[in-house]
């Protein structure tokens, strides 16, 4: 009893010093509490002992993060092409749906975690800018036929009145990814599209975000959360960095409900996708991992429960394409 306490104390001291001094980005602090909620972060170096799944393999947790990193490092250049090939372009519709459900108002700050090549952020900026244009057009049209009240007020208050309505609040998007290669690809895309303002690229781990509390209005993670070793930690980080009233949105592959569609989907996933991966990107194993990790991810209801456990409210999900993809949304209230 005393020996184990001493051992624990030594571990705590060692880990505390190691955490402060080292700069290992993939270092995971896992909890040894039996419940899934590691609200109090007990320090242990059990990262090497606990095992998790990497596709259908079982690996240690430390190893998983490394292997995921390598997977995305290798697929980064061909990531977008492969997305289009594998989903026959439907992934664009899924991402559009995410934006449509989000319905961002101008002036909102978005954090796009595992944003990689920046698809969500580009769409977000487009959406907000077109909304601002629409509002500007509407006010311009309204000003063309002002009511007599507006005319009289504009006489009394010369400069205010009409300009006050269109307070152009700049919306920002921050793309955060653990993988530098993916961010590089994203930055190149941004340059080629000519988007310069309102976008920033940050390297960070979803389980330990390099941001302060209460920063963002919307947190999105599209097709990234199944690669995170500790999903509950990522959810807690999401709750931490969201402002009160902020929204968490997650787009992820999920369980197909229709049995016939499920059979077709399985056949397509396991037969076609790795082959496509080999042919287009020259990487069979990464896409094998992708397909297997989809199967390992919890289903819609379980994930909804996990989101509620993390402290988000009003959690809902929409099934897209018959359950192939699920869009979960929750609020920090």
């Amino acid at each position: 009893m005393a020996a184990s306490i001493r051992l624990l104390a030594r571990r705590i001291v060692r880990d505390a010093s190691r955490t402060i001094n080292s700069s290992v980005s993939g270092r995971i602090v896992s909890s040894s509490c039996p419940s899934n909620l590691s609200a109090c972060r007990c320090f242990s170096d059990g990262a090497a002992d606990k095992s998790t799944h990497f596709g259908f393999e079982t690996v240690s947790e430390g190893e998983k993060a490394e292997r995921v990193y390598k997977v995305f490092e290798s697929v980064a250049p061909k990531y977008d092409v492969m997305n289009d090939a594998m989903s026959l372009g439907v992934h664009r519709l899924w991402k559009d749906m995410l934006l449509h459900v989000m319905n961002p108002q101008p002036g909102i700050c978005l954090l796009d975690v595992a944003g990689g090549t920046g698809d969500i952020s580009f769409r977000f900026l487009d959406y907000v800018r077109s909304q601002q244009e629409r509002v500007a057009r509407r006010t311009a049209r309204a000003n063309q036929t002002p009511s007599w009240q507006e005319i009289s007020t504009s006489y009394t208050t010369p400069t205010e009145g009409i300009e006050m309505e269109t307070e152009a609040r700049e919306s920002r998007a921050v793309v955060c990814d653990i993988n530098k290669e993916m961010l590089k690809v994203g930055k190149q895309k941004a340059e080629s599209m000519g988007i310069s303002s309102g976008l920033s690229w940050v390297v960070g781990d979803a389980e330990e975000l390099p941001f302060d509390d209460d920063q963002f209005d919307v947190y999105t993670i599209a097709f990234g959360i199944r690669n995170v070793t500790h999903i509950d930690l990522a959810l807690q980080e999401a709750v931490r960095v969201l402002k009160p009233g902020g929204r968490f949105m997650c787009l992820e592959f999920s369980k197909v409900t229709n049995p016939l569609l499920a059979r077709l989907y399985d056949a397509y996933s396991f037969q076609m996708i790795p082959v496509l991966g080999e042919v287009i990107a020259g990487d069979w194993k990464s896409y094998q991992y992708l397909v297997e990790s989809i199967r390992k991810f919890p289903d819609q209801e379980t994930f909804k429960q996990m989101i509620e456990d993390a402290g988000l409210f009003s959690v809902r999900y929409h099934n897209l394409t018959g359950g192939v993809v699920a869009l979960h949304s929750g609020f920090k209230l």
């Binding site: 980005s25 909102i108 781990d205 009160p244 402290g311 409210f313």
Partner: protein
């Protein structure tokens, strides 16, 4: 950079270990505590800029139940409103947990029921957001932007307007429910006063006119955007709800006008306080005619009042007279029409009876004259 932040957070966490009050054993409790903290922050903010009078009867429950005739006295019983909320297990758990959570800052809490209420369920928080959003309707119209602006005044992010899946429809329906609840309260108050003998009972026509006028006056601050609200209410997915609100409004008005017809059984019947039956000559006569028409009478009364209400509303939105005087004149005329028609219907019925009897007599006389009646 990440390491530095991590270090700071480690330091904070180590310090935090010493001051953790409750070991977070179960997640619902954890939610409740966190909610309690957020709600404390929200409440402090709201109490600071509380200038709009929130209707003491929690408007949240009016979105889920449409009949609220029996209202708990506004002073204490917050527990009564809890019973109305949908018993989702999560909500119940967070309720229970938040009740145990330490109540912060009693200096802000009044003894009146309004400021004693807590945001314990999502419905209540949504109701608060919608109340705050009503201030922005003049600026943004009945839209999601108004809801976002309302959320921001409560200290929440604008993204929380995503909670309202029906968007502007939620805002309009909430507003209507609130207005109806206020009207019902006023009518119940008047009714109590009459029962206590402090006020004179009004004649039906006058009562109807006052009720409709009171209800329409609640629209006056939003009258510029009201056409937009009406069009939102006419959207197909909103029609069932808006019809329900309208029908309960009309029903309540007739109830307090004295219509106690029991020929149509309604489940909410027993909840009504049992008063003296308010029978005015306007009501008594129809009941003495054949029973079948009494049932028709219930429907015709409500249909008539619905027609009056809708047409008056339409007149109001394009009325530009001083204090909407034209609208009230129109209302007066319509109610007079109904009264006249009811009187005319009575007269026609009695005349018809008299005519029928006369014809019967004439037929018998004719039969006597021609000798058909005699037995041979």
């Amino acid at each position: 950079m990440a390491a530095l932040l991590r270090g700071l957070r480690v330091g904070r966490a180590l310090r935090g270990f010493g001051s953790v009050v409750v070991p977070k054993t179960s997640s619902p409790q954890c939610n409740g505590l966190r909610r309690g903290f957020h709600c404390a922050a929200l409440r402090l903010q709201e109490d600071k800029d509380k200038s709009i009078p929130v209707p003491p009867s929690s408007a949240a429950s009016s979105t889920t139940t449409y009949h609220e005739h029996y209202r708990a006295p506004p002073s204490k019983n917050n527990t009564a409103t809890y019973m109305h909320e949908a018993p989702a297990p999560e909500a119940a758990a967070s309720e229970a947990a938040a009740k145990e959570a330490p109540q912060p800052n009693t200096s802000y809490a009044d003894q009146s029921g309004e400021q004693g209420e807590e945001y314990e369920t999502e419905e209540q928080l949504q109701a608060h957001i919608l109340n705050a959003a009503l201030d922005f309707v003049q600026l943004h119209g009945w839209t999601l932007e108004a809801i976002s602006a309302g959320a921001e005044t409560l200290g929440l992010s604008a993204a929380s307007s995503g909670m309202f899946q029906n968007g502007a429809g939620d805002l309009v329906l909430h507003f209507i429910a609130q207005c109806n609840a206020q009207l019902t309260e006023q009518m119940a108050e008047q009714h109590n006063q009459v029962q206590l003998g402090q006020a004179e009972p009004k004649k039906t026509a006058e009562f109807l006119r006052d009720a409709v006028e009171t209800r329409l006056r609640m629209l006056m601050p939003y009258i510029d955007n009201w056409p937009q609200a009406m069009s939102i209410l006419l959207l197909p997915h909103n029609i069932p709800d808006s019809l329900k609100h309208l029908s309960t409004l009309v029903d309540d008005i007739w109830y307090y006008a004295g219509d106690r017809s029991t020929d149509v059984s309604r489940p909410s019947q027993p909840k009504y306080p049992s008063p003296h039956v308010f029978l005015t000559p306007f009501h008594q006569a129809p009941h003495t005619i054949r029973p079948a028409s009494a049932k028709l009478n219930w429907y015709t009364k409500r249909a008539a009042l619905t027609g009056i209400y809708n047409t008056t509303e339409l007149v109001m939105i394009q009325d530009s007279s001083e204090d909407f005087q034209d609208t009230w004149n129109f209302l007066e005329n319509r109610i007079q029409d109904i009264v006249n028609m009811a009187g005319a219907a009575k007269q026609v019925a009695s005349t018809g009876e008299a005519v029928a009897q006369g014809l019967m007599g004439a037929a018998v006389t004719l039969k006597n004259l021609t000798g058909i009646n005699q037995r041979r």
